[in-house]
């Protein structure tokens, strides 16, 4: 039981660390990238395979723009 608790604590700690490290204070970027890649995978499979690339590039620009705007609004409110 004690071993289980130690392992669970270690796994939880590692998970939290990785989440903070990869996602941190910008969960919108992480979620938007995942959703965009899923969408591009669908486009590439059912439509034109190079169209998905341009969609991905434009989406990356929009994600960045939205995240920057969100940060500016938050800092202005403070």
């Amino acid at each position: 039981m004690r071993v289980f608790r130690v392992v669970a604590t270690a796994v939880g700690g590692t998970g939290r660390f990785l989440w903070d490290f990869l996602v941190g204070d910008t969960p919108e970027i992480f979620v938007a990238v995942c959703v965009t890649l899923a969408g591009v995978a669908l486009i590439s499979r059912h439509h034109h395979s190079s169209l998905g690339g341009w969609v991905l590039l434009v989406a990356a620009f929009l994600i960045l723009s939205a995240s920057v705007t969100k940060a500016i609004r938050t800092s202005t409110r403070k």
Partner: protein
């Protein structure tokens, strides 16, 4: 051609070198603060231990990642690079447009020194100094390790990526040892933006390939993506300044 298996991967070398330079300048601030506030021996012990751990990570994860099938590897690596790159660009845009303070090494140095001095004199071995120095170098270096492993694994060029990161680390260490203070005059935000552009470009290119995109003109498209991303970042900085 940029980043082909046959040509020397200039973009990879530049991305890893600049990323390591930025992160190690930040780590140097903490190491110097520990050295001045507590002891240089403990600061260097923590630094050495952290660098050894980072090297072990690259040695373990690097070869392991090259056994992962190419398509899922491209998706995961591309997504990680894209997320990292967008995070770096976000910070760089906010700093360049004045919405976030430029990274102030002096302020970080002062805060770390004050914190370490407030902890009082060590009894026996100075664990606090070793741990502070270790954490500073390890956490800053971890991001570089992820870049070395992901960028290097895609083209099986872990050694070149590692050498590039190691060169930057040694360079910062030499300059740090000569001046024995934090480095304030490094154009950190410009370097951060450059790394961000390269990470996003690689991220878009590889994750796209992973989910079935066929880029016109092959690897040359990576260069075009980098130029478009850089232009997009410039536009966003101008918009954010208004």
């Amino acid at each position: 051609m940029l980043a082909t298996t046959t040509a020397f991967p200039y973009a990879l070398v530049v991305a890893v070198f600049l990323a390591a330079l930025v992160e190690m300048v930040e780590a140097l601030t903490i190491v110097v603060a520990v050295g001045h506030a507590r002891s240089w021996r403990s600061a260097l012990e923590g630094t050495g231990l952290a660098l050894a751990c980072l090297a072990v990570l690259v040695a373990i994860v690097g070869p392991a990642i090259s056994h992962v099938p190419l398509t899922p590897l491209r998706v995961v690596v591309g997504a990680v690079l894209l997320v990292f790159g967008l995070q770096w660009l976000r910070k760089a845009i906010l700093r360049a447009s004045g919405h976030k303070a430029l990274h102030d090494e002096d302020e970080i140095y002062r805060a770390t020194v004050a914190e370490l001095r407030a902890a009082g004199e060590p009894v026996g071995r100075d664990r606090l100094a070793v741990v502070t120095s270790f954490k500073g170098v390890f956490l800053e270096g971890l991001e570089v390790v992820i870049m070395v492993v992901t960028l290097g694994a895609q083209r099986h060029q872990i050694l070149i990526a590692t050498a590039s990161a190691a060169t930057a680390t040694v360079l910062v260490a030499i300059v740090g040892a000569i001046v024995a203070k934090q480095l304030n005059n490094v154009p950190e935000n410009f370097m951060k933006a450059t790394v961000g552009v390269l990470l996003v470009s690689y991220g878009v290119f590889w994750s796209g390939e992973g989910v079935g995109v066929q880029w016109p003109h092959g690897d040359v498209m990576l260069l075009a993506i980098a130029v478009l991303t850089a232009a997009g970042v410039w536009v966003q900085i101008q918009v954010a300044r208004r």
